[in-house]
Amino acid sequence: MVLLVDKYRPKSFDKMDIHKDMSQQLKNIVNTGDFPHLLFYGPSGAGKKTRVMALLKEVYGVKAEKTKLENKEIKVGSQLSKSITVTTLSSPCHIEINPSDSGNYDRYVIGTLLKEIAQSAPLDQSAERNFKVVIINEVDLLSREAQQALRRTMEKYVKTCRLVLMATSISKILSPIKSRCLCIRVPAPTSEEISTVLQKVAKQEVFNLPKAFCDEISEKSEGNLRRALLMLEASKAEKYPFTAGQKARLPEWERFIADIAKEIMEDQSPKRLLEIREKYYQLITNCIPPELILQKLANYLIVVVDYDVKHQVSHWSAFYEHRLKCGSRPIFHLEAFTAKIMSVYKRYVKLLSFVNNL
């Protein structure tokens, strides 16, 4: 059993439903037989990875699909005394790494792995392409040092390997790297595009997807096709056949955050703050990134609060997001944000009742 999102991932450019012109362009690029370093960027769920995989298939044929997971030991540290395990996904013609998983050691991962791969040219000289492809995920999360390490390697081993970099935003990527790559932006699909994909999947899976519900899912997915498909499947698992008034099923953590927003509005007291702290802890321990918590919470709050408080919410959420980035214990900042909103909102409510009484 495979999830719909994985089952219906298009394997080649021809099967893609969105950004067809881009697919065509990519096809043209690789048809020349070679291609430069590539940098794909765009929001998640837009289809970056799908395109890269399709590109590989276009270049290498079916053998690019024979992927397997591999754990590699890499020596790290200034004395190379410590060793960490890195998981790579590889096929005979490419390797995919996530150096940002290794935290501060990412530059060792980049250095070691890239050299290892790049220095050994494919044995099969008769092969069509005598270079390998290295896919590096989440380049925007790489440390500055790692990016510097990448910079030199890119030039040095250009004969034996091509880099395909993936990122959600290029603002954090060094400009030398950007200039060495062909940057390709993959924009998020529109909700119409998502709807068509959803309908197509429904058709292939043979179930009925009412248009209204389909639209709601594509709306709630925020331009993330992956999420849209996951949501569709989750909603289907929850209740099928779909009814008219059915809501798309949000992940539990999101509903949990919505609850927090509601609780802040209901009561502003130390006791409530303590309760909310516990909830924050639950979210954080369940691996919801604190920045995401703050962002979602602010989104929910802005919807709920009155017009006069909206700008306060956005101001303070920005303020504490910065604190989150600067600090080491996210709970303090989330809590401070909550306390601040409570204080602001309580004052507003008081003022409102005062004005009303006049």
């Binding site: 059993m1 495979v2 999830l3 998640s44 769920g45 990875k49 992927t67 997971l69 998981t87 996904l89 995919e96 996530n98 998983d101 896919i135 995920n137 989440e138 993936m166 959600t168 992956r226 996951l230 499947e233 989750a234 698992a237 992940p251 539990e252 953590w253 509903r255 949990f256 609850d259 007291s269 130390p270 703050l273 303590l274 802890y281 639950q282 954080i284 321990t285 369940n286 691996c287 919801i288 990134p289 995401l292 504490y320 604190r323 600067c326 600090g327 080491s328 214990r329 709970i331 303090f332 900042h333 809590e335 401070a336 306390a339 601040k340 409570m342 204080s343 309580k346 004052r347 008081k350």
Partner: protein, 1032 residues
């Protein structure tokens, strides 16, 4: 004598530090804020004390009408410039001296030379200046400033302390009050700020009394007080804050501001005692009157330390009488309800002062039940039962008043002379007595050292250390046991060497003893004394100052333990000849860590083979490093001696040292130092040197505030102090941060929400605002501390101390409330620590799941969050909906995404948010299904693994799986509550086994290689699980 509120139209002279003193009435133009008023006071008092030209002014005052705005400013204006000038001049002279780092020593020096009266005011002004300039800049750089300022304050304080003390010997305690007040900087509530002023009024009022003895009534007293220029101001504004208001002060706290405010507030307080001395010299004041004022000062001091409800209803509304010392001796009081004019601690102090006892519960021994407003019903009932006499505040006061031997008036023939004469006489007496005594006590070990003190500068602790075991305080049974053990050591040792093998482990002779207990209760002393008494001449002590690692222990001590002392070869005594006369005392064994690597292990091996007794001493026997050591030693737990025993001994010492001190004062000392004999004796000696030849009564001892030196030892105590102790100022808070610079900020952050600040109403707007401010500060502190670690910029530590600890705790301090429900009793340990490790663990799990599937391996964390719930559902749903039929589906889904059995539960946990949204899905899976599922999953994986793994790894895996399974079956069985369920489970288990075998065959059909062995094992497993379930 609460002043009338109407007089608030007093001249408000702008603070001298903001503007130069100006004539005229500025009150019309400037709105009167409390700060300003206080500045006024400081200004006026200052000008007064600094100008010796005007000492007579109070005497004139009775003639003047109550309010004379025109007059008073003119007076101050003339004096102020002079004082300023002098201040500037002298400050330059005094400054270097001020910076001396040892105020204590100087204190002693200064007491010898009598300071000139001019010196005193100047000190003041320096202090004032420095602190004021600080307070201005404090707004910008509070954390850094705080330190410097408080140091200056300290210095000047001690100095001023001395000078004043010398001048008015009679009331040495006043300075102590001042000190308290000085330390009370920063966040202050209005009620607290108000009280001291009231005190000053009262003090002054009482001072004035003697001048106009005809007008002894309360009414006239009031007038007297108002006649004084500077007091007028005080008088006028105190009514603004009536005691009722104290409970709900409206002033919002602005942190930065209050600091500078406080600076100004403290100045009038500082002034008053001086003022008093000047007036006193002229006046014909008697000592008793002075004492009368003392208890009245208490409200300020105590109110801070206690909860709001202990505030008196009408503070200061009654005159505190003076009674005969110890007039309440033998009486037991129980106080209930809010008293009229005295707060609870004040009343406590008053009763204790006169020798009475305070108890919290009524019993048959209770003499009086003192009733206030809203008395506790339970106390009344028990009082009825015991037929306890009831009385009220007035009754107690009357008791004291009646006890006074004569009318106070008659009793004051030479009031001013009295203290001087007192001391002189005392010295004379002493010098007369001491030679005789000396001669008399030549044989006595405890010499009367008062005169010989100059020669014999020994510490009292050493001087009066017990020399006989009978002299040891408390722990009699333990000492006896130790003695027995030591005396019988040799014989038992010999016995144990003979019958070593046969003896049981339990009643084996312990060759070492472990004495544990808190510091200062005589562990080391007792062991030494007892060892000597038991005839061990050679007492070898090793403490933390000696190197005690494995090597040095072996080198130095090992020889001792298996050697015999040379001495015995020379002794004629046969009996002694036989035995070993050496004992080894290993002091502070709990300190054997770090540098003493391997020390404890070596000690244990020494104990095993020792030929001499070993006494180990430690403070904390629960220490992990001592666990093994404890099994080889006989344990003796020393406890704190009874406070009465200690005070008895102390009185003895005092008598021998010719120190006059109240029984009550000694008891207080013992209590406040938690029965630590050593530090009590040390403090006693210190007290003695500070109050030479003077009687130390209860209030003096209390004002010394000795418990402050008793530092907090637990992080919880530190948290409590920070969040609740109102006497703490920023300096203290910053100091406490260094108790544990990692943990203290976390503790504050964890617990600050539970505190309701004392100045706000619960859940009010201010409360939430304060909360938000505090949390903002904590958040800032966190960012700074990250910077410290990231850039190794340790210079920033004070900033963390300020924003992470001092500021939030100052903002929030107040009463703790149990917001977390019934089990919320005390400060909690920072959950961010435990949650942090859970988070890391969960991230690892998440990564593990993510990296084990081709589909998800390249996803970012956020994308994985979208995946997880559905992944979980796709595996759980078949188990929940289709029960056993769904097992296969579930396993397929898991394999597709590389999820293991453990991962499944971890994912389930990760996706679950407790509360409204329910609990883990896996819990709703039927136990039977769960078992079957686990089994089939394991079986399948064994099969898959077999193909992939090497033989060795395979074997390991098998073992692991078997154990797993047994455990699971066992767990499931425990879950069953009744027999029926048990049977059912048994049946299904067997059935499942069959199913599973079939399934397994199916699953393994394509993999022909792996057919034979798993089958065998499956049958084996079946047998084992059957066995287990049958047992159940």
């Amino acid at each position: 004598m609460p002043p009338k509120p109407k007089k608030s139209t007093t001249p408000g002279i702008m603070s001298w530090l903001i503007k130069k003193p100006k004539e005229g009435d500025s009150s019309k133009t400037t709105p009167k804020t409390p700060e300003k008023e206080e500045e006024d006071v400081s200004q006026r008092t200052r000008s007064k004390t600094t100008s010796p030209a005007k000492p007579k002014s109070p005497a004139k005052s009775p003639l003047r009408t109550t309010l004379s705005p025109a007059k008073s400013p003119s007076k101050t204006s003339s004096s102020a410039p002079i004082s300023r000038k002098r201040k500037v001049e002298e400050s330059s002279e005094e400054e270097p001296e001020e910076k001396k780092p040892e105020p204590k020593r100087r204190k002693l020096e200064l007491t010898k030379k009598s300071p000139t009266p001019t010196k005193k005011p100047t000190k003041k002004s320096i202090k004032q200046e420095s602190s004021d300039s600080d307070s201005e800049s404090e707004v910008e750089l509070p954390a850094k400033r705080m330190r410097t300022r408080s140091r200056i304050v300290d210095d000047s304080e001690s100095e001023e302390d001395i000078t004043t003390k010398k001048q008015k010997k009679v009331t040495p305690k006043k300075e102590a009050f001042k000190q308290d007040e000085d330390e009370d900087i920063v966040v202050k509530t209005t009620n607290k700020r108000k009280t001291p002023e009231k005190d000053t009024v009262k003090k002054n009022a009482s001072n004035d009394q003697p001048k106009t003895p005809e007008k002894k009534t309360i009414a006239t007293k009031k007038e007297d007080a108002m006649d004084e220029d500077d007091i007028e101001v005080v008088e006028v504004k105190s009514p603004k804050k009536t005691p009722e208001k104290n409970k709900t002060p409206e002033k919002k706290i602005v942190f930065e501001d209050t600091e500078s405010e406080q600076e100004m507030i403290s100045s009038p307080k500082r002034k008053t005692p001086e003022k008093k001395t000047t007036t006193k010299k002229e006046s014909t004041k008697k000592e008793e009157k002075e004492e009368e004022a003392k208890p009245k000062k208490r409200p300020f001091f105590n109110k801070q330390a206690h909860a709001v409800r202990e505030v008196a209803l009408n503070p200061g509304s009654k005159e505190i009488p003076v009674g005969k010392p110890n007039c309440l001796k033998g009486m037991v009081f129980v106080i209930t309800g809010n008293l009229d004019s005295l707060s609870r601690p004040e009343m406590d102090d008053l009763i204790k002062q006169y020798g009475g006892l305070i108890r919290t519960a009524v019993s048959s021994k209770t003499t009086y039940l003192v009733l206030g407003a809203d008395p506790a019903a339970s106390k009344l009932e028990t009082a009825k039962k015991h037929k306890t006499k009831k009385t009220d505040e007035d009754g107690v006061l009357k008791l004291i008043r009646d006890s006074a031997p004569q009318q106070p008036k008659v009793n004051q023939p030479s009031p001013q002379k009295q203290p001087v004469v007192d001391t002189k006489e005392l010295i004379e007496q002493l010098s007369k007595q001491s030679p005789e005594k000396k001669a008399a006590s030549k044989t006595n070990a405890l010499k009367p050292a008062h005169i010989s003190q100059a020669v014999n500068n020994q510490l009292w602790v050493d001087q009066f250390a017990p020399t006989k075991s009978s002299e040891i305080l408390g722990n009699t049974t333990q000492v006896k046991e130790l003695r027995e053990w030591l005396t019988n050591w040799q014989s038992k040792y010999e016995a144990s060497t003979k019958t070593d093998a046969k003896q049981k482990k339990s009643d084996q002779f312990k060759r070492a003893v472990m004495i544990s207990g808190v510091p200062g209760i005589g562990k080391t002393t007792s062991s030494k004394v007892v060892a000597k008494e038991c005839g061990f001449d050679d007492v070898i002590e090793m403490n933390a100052s000696d190197a005690r690692n494995k090597k040095s222990l072996r080198e130095h001590v090992q020889d001792l333990t298996d050697n015999t002392s040379l001495k015995e070869f020379f002794t004629v005594d046969k009996k002694k000849m036989k035995s070993n006369r050496t004992v080894l005392i290993m002091d502070e064994v709990d300190g054997m860590s770090g540098g003493d690597r391997g020390g404890v292990a070596e000690l244990i091996s020494m104990i095993k083979n020792t030929k001499i007794p070993i006494i180990c001493i430690c403070n904390d026997r629960s220490k992990q490093s001592l666990k093994t050591l404890l099994t080889y030693t006989l344990e003796l737990k020393f406890t704190r001696p009874n406070k009465d025993t200690i005070s008895k001994r102390l009185m003895e010492i005092c008598r021998k040292m010719k120190m006059s001190i109240d029984q009550q004062a000694v008891t207080l000392l013992v209590e406040s130092l938690h029965n630590d004999i050593r530090s009590v004796v040390n403090n006693l000696q210190l007290l003695n040197s500070q109050h030479e030849n003077k009687k130390i009564d209860y209030m003096t001892a209390k004002s010394e505030n000795i418990q402050k030196s008793d530092s907090q030892t637990s992080i919880f105590g530190v948290t409590q102090d920070l969040l609740q102790k109102t006497t703490y100022d920023v300096k203290d808070a910053l100091d406490l941060y260094h108790f544990d610079s990692m943990l203290v900020p976390l503790f504050i952050a964890e617990n600050y929400i539970s505190i309701t600040p004392s100045h706000v109403e619960r859940n009010s707007q201010q409360h939430i605002d304060t909360l938000s401010k505090a949390s903002e500060s904590i958040s800032l502190g966190d960012t700074i501390s990250k910077k410290i670690f990231k850039d190794q910029n340790w210079n920033l530590m004070p900033d963390v101390a300020y924003s992470g600890v001092a500021r939030p705790s100052m903002l929030m301090r107040g009463k703790r409330e149990a917001l977390r429900g019934a089990y919320d009793h005390y400060y909690s340990f920072p959950s961010s620590l435990s949650k942090g490790s859970t988070t890391t663990k969960n991230y690892n799990v998440l990564r593990g799941v993510q990296k084990s599937s081709v589909y998800t391996s390249s996803l970012s964390n956020n994308d994985m969050l979208d995946y997880l719930p559905l992944l979980r559902d796709s595996m759980m749903a078949p188990l929940i909906d289709d029960k056993k039929e769904g097992i296969q589906d579930a396993i397929e889904a898991m394999d597709e995404y590389g999820v293991t059995r453990d991962d499944l539960e971890a994912i389930d946990e990760l996706c679950t948010f407790k509360g409204k949204l329910g609990e883990e899905r896996f819990k709703s899976v039927d136990t039977v299904v769960k078992t079957a599922f686990t089994r089939s999953f394991n079986a399948r994986h064994k099969a898959i693994n077999k193909g992939k793994m090497s033989k060795k790894a395979q074997e390991e895996n098998h073992d692991g799986l078997n154990e797993d399974e047994i455990q699971i079956v066992a767990e499931d069985q425990v879950d069953k509550e009744d027999e029926v369920a048990k049977e059912l489970a048994l049946k299904s288990a067997i059935k499942n086994m069959k199913n599973f075998e079939i399934k397994q065959k199916k699953a393994e059909a394509p993999k022909k290689r792996a057919a034979a062995k798993p089958k065998k094992e499956a049958t084996k497993k079946k047998a084992t699980s059957k066995k287990i379930s049958l047992k159940k």
